[in-house]
């Protein structure tokens, strides 16, 4: 068994661009998950699943989203050993994979109960609920009104550009698939996006790469506002200095997409994992991990009408179109002057 595992790792070695690997359980059957989610965050859920399925040895590989996409496309073409399950936050890429017939279907009571936005063709499922939030430094806004919407933020930027200069952070959409997804969704959602980018440009906003870096920056006070930060990371970072706002005009909500590759060896176990992930127990664990945000109005103050789930649908494919992508990137690049990235 160990030999087999070694072989597996060796085989995937050439394309190896996973960031980390973890193993759960010690059953005779290997089960491979490839995911963009940090192991640390999701560990309790996978632990529990490994407990429930003592027959499996679960190998959890953490990948960057673009690398995972490239790898999955290659598998779909028949190159390399396919994963048994793929979980990615870059849902547009997952939609592309499903559209290219790289997935296999599954239907059960729990999947059927998912809303339409979190399910496509019974081949792709949204597991988590993670809002795109505005993070802010609590100290910077002590006693002052925190901008609760994009308009409020814009107004604030206009009112006092110097206060925000170089202290607004957001994802670099060229580097982050998630950042691109949010930017793309924003551009589709409202005309505010153009104005917002202009505003960001005026105050020399910083486009940076990673959630951790952004949150740390906010906590330390280097940035006073971070736009479109994934709420789950803010929650799991557990930095009391950082406050979080779900924009009241609209809040994008991301559901990490789960897919069972067409060539999955342990398809049955992958389906079992999917069903498990959607159980109240697993959803509870995910909520504790911050991956499922409570959408209760009293807790978040967010009206249901302001929720914008990023639906798992072919519309996302537009975001992957090279021309379209280049245009957005150009627009972005025009806004964020080069060299701003630290």
């Amino acid at each position: 068994m160990l030999k087999w595992l070694t072989l597996l790792i060796c085989l995937s070695a050439p394309a190896l661009s996973q960031e980390a690997v973890a193993r759960f359980g010690s059953g005779p059957t290997p089960f491979l998950i490839r995911s963009t989610t940090d192991i640390a965050i999701i560990r309790p859920v996978i632990d529990r699943f490994a407990e429930l399925r003592p027959d499996l040895t679960v190998t959890y590989e953490q990948w960057g989203s673009n690398a995972l996409f490239a790898r999955s496309r290659a598998e779909c073409r028949g190159e390399g050993t396919p994963a048994d399950a793929v979980l990615s936050s870059a849902v547009q890429q997952m939609v592309w994979l499903v559209n290219a017939a790289c997935a296999q279907p599954h239907r059960s009571a729990v999947t059927a109960a998912l809303p339409d936005t979190r399910r496509w063709r019974d081949e792709l499922w949204g597991i988590t609920l993670e809002p795109a939030a505005i993070a802010y430094n609590r100290a910077a806004f002590a006693g002052a009104e925190v901008p609760r919407s994009r308009f409020a933020l814009l107004d604030a930027l206009r009112a006092d550009p110097d206060r925000y200069r170089n202290r607004i952070a957001t994802y670099d959409i060229a580097a982050s698939g998630l950042g691109f997804l949010f930017a793309f969704s924003d551009s589709n959602e409202a005309t505010t996006f153009g104005a917002l980018l202009e505003g960001f440009a005026r105050v020399d906003a910083v486009a940076t790469c990673c959630s951790a870096e952004i949150i740390a920056g906010v906590a330390e006070g280097r940035y006073i506002v971070a736009y479109n930060v994934l709420g789950s990371y803010v929650a799991s970072a557990a930095r009391p200095e950082v406050g979080m706002i779900l924009p009241e005009d609209y809040t994008l909500i991301l559901s990490r997409a789960y897919m069972i590759p067409r060539g999955a060896v342990q398809a049955a176990s992958a389906k079992a994992l999917l069903d498990y992930l959607l159980t109240p127990e697993a959803q509870g664990l995910l909520e504790q991990a911050g991956l499922v945000a409570s959408m209760d109005v009293t807790e978040t103050g967010l009206a249901p009408s302001a929720r914008r789930s990023i639906a798992l649908s072919p519309s996302l494919l537009v975001g992957l179109d090279q021309t379209r992508r280049n245009l957005l990137l150009e627009f972005w690049a025009d806004t964020f002057a080069p060299g701003d990235v630290p």
Binding site: R121, P314, S315, V318, T323, R324
Partner: protein, 449 residues
């Protein structure tokens, strides 16, 4: 041989067959219509999306630039469960943009069907021609979509259309059943009437309120039965009427002959013979009447449990046979059969009559039971008829060789008729003690005890 199917079943099968055939045709046409409707609506969406994309093409720096409109994809999302494909090709089929470089579609102008990643799909190719300073030529937009939504819509459309039709079909079957039942009800009534009818009941079947189709055969049947009954009556009456009508003249001839004999001084052979013949003529008339009665009664009289011992006793009681020694030989237990007592009595009377006329005294009458069979028998002490004669005995009006002028041989034919009517036979045995002739009938379990 298979039993022929009932009329109602035939008609219902025919109706069902028609309905099923009609249903299949309707279902097929509905499905086809649904498919057409679904194809048209989704083709329009496909074309709309392709046009959207085509509209979004602009020439920049001498090359076509495709800024994919989200609206096109939202249009395609009308079929939420379907995979999509898009591709934009420049002059000479050069690829400008597309969803997937790996998926190659053999495109043709307008709508066409092809497979998309192993799944059947529908495509459209829209061509936009550019004539610009720095670019001229056609740009093809190919948009495709798998067929799930179309199939679902076709299914929904045809199902929605078929539901009421299926219900209507069911209603039609029920109505047809009711109508057929109703239409055939008079026939059923007549069938029940005929089945319950006594075989000898030849009264007319009422034809009022019956459909014309039934009145015709029933009227014919009634006419036939009336004729049959008329003929039966005529035959029945002919014999008994004749016998009745002949009695008075025969009585007169006899009286006159006797008077002539009484008045004549010297014995006359001719007169004696005349008297003898008139006497046997009386017997013949009795037998004719008896036979007519027996035939009539075996046809019509109800069968009852009869003790053959009583019949034997009645045979002794009914006629006096002066100068003959007759014994009755019966047991203590009833010898029961199911028959008509009068007919049995006539048969016994004729058996006795034959023994008296042709046999030798002493004569014994008896009734007994041998196994399942009941016997009414007459034995005389003579040798009985010769075997050759015995074989011919009982055929109607056959005169046995030794009957002379005193018998016309009707007697045994009556016995035969009675035996046949009650499922029995005539049994003749001769041995050194005498000749026994027996009417053998199936015994009946005695229910009177």
């Amino acid at each position: 041989m298979a039993r022929p199917r009932a009329l109602a079943t035939r008609v219902l099968w025919a109706v069902l067959t028609i309905l099923v055939l009609g249903g299949v045709l309707v279902a097929a046409s509905t499905w086809w219509n649904g498919r057409q409707a679904a194809r048209q609506s989704y083709d329009r969406i496909l074309l709309g999306a392709a046009n959207d994309i085509a509209e979004s093409i602009r020439i920049q720096n001498g090359a076509p630039l495709v800024v994919l409109p989200v609206s096109a994809f939202e249009l395609l999302a009308q079929a939420p469960e379907d995979r999509i494909h898009y591709e934009v090709r420049g002059p000479g089929g050069t690829r400008i943009t597309g969803i997937d470089t790996d998926t190659l579609i053999a495109a043709q102008p307008g709508f066409f069907d092809a497979t998309l990643n192993g799944e059947p799909a529908r495509f459209v190719q829209v061509t936009r021609r550019f004539v610009e300073r720095d670019f001229s030529g056609p740009v093809d937009v190919i948009v495709g979509q798998t067929l799930r939504a179309r199939q679902a819509m076709a299914l929904t459309l045809s199902r929605d259309a078929l539901w009421p039709m299926a219900l209507a079909g069911l209603a039609l079957v029920l109505i047809a059943w009711a109508v057929v039942r109703r239409a055939l009800a008079p026939l059923d009534a007549i069938t029940a009437d005929l089945a319950a009818r006594d075989p000898y009941d030849l009264t007319a079947i009422p034809t009022d309120d019956l459909p014309h189709e039934l009145q015709v055969p029933l009227t014919a049947l009634n006419r036939f039965m009336a004729r049959l009954e008329g003929q039966l009556d005529a035959m029945r009456n002919l014999i008994s009427d004749t016998a009745h009508q002949l009695r008075t003249p025969v009585a007169a001839i006899r009286v006159q002959a006797e008077a002539a004999q009484a008045e004549s001084d010297r014995p006359s052979r001719a007169l004696d013979r005349l008297l003898g013949r008139t006497r046997s003529l009386g017997t013949l008339l009795d037998q004719l009447l008896s036979r007519a009665l027996v035939v009539h009664r075996t046809d019509s009289a109800p069968r009852r449990v009869v003790d053959l011992r009583e019949i034997a006793l009645e045979m002794i009681e009914r006629d006096d046979h002066p100068g003959l020694s007759i014994r009755l030989e019966i047991g203590e237990d009833p010898v029961t059969v199911r028959a008509d007592a009068f007919s049995l009595g006539e048969a016994g009377r004729n058996l006795l009559g034959n023994a008296v006329r042709h046999g030798q005294s002493p004569i014994t009458i008896g009734a007994d039971r041998i196994g399942p069979e009941a016997r009414l028998w007459v034995r005389d002490s003579g040798p009985g008829p010769a075997p050759a004669v015995r074989d011919r005995l009982g055929t109607r009006f056959n005169r046995s060789a030794g009957s002379g002028e005193t018998s016309a041989g009707i007697g045994l034919s009556i016995v035969h008729a009675v035996a046949a009517a009650f499922g029995g036979r005539l049994d003749m045995t001769a041995d050194e003690t005498g000749f026994t002739i027996a009417l053998v009938l199936p015994g009946e379990e005695d229910r009177t005890c």
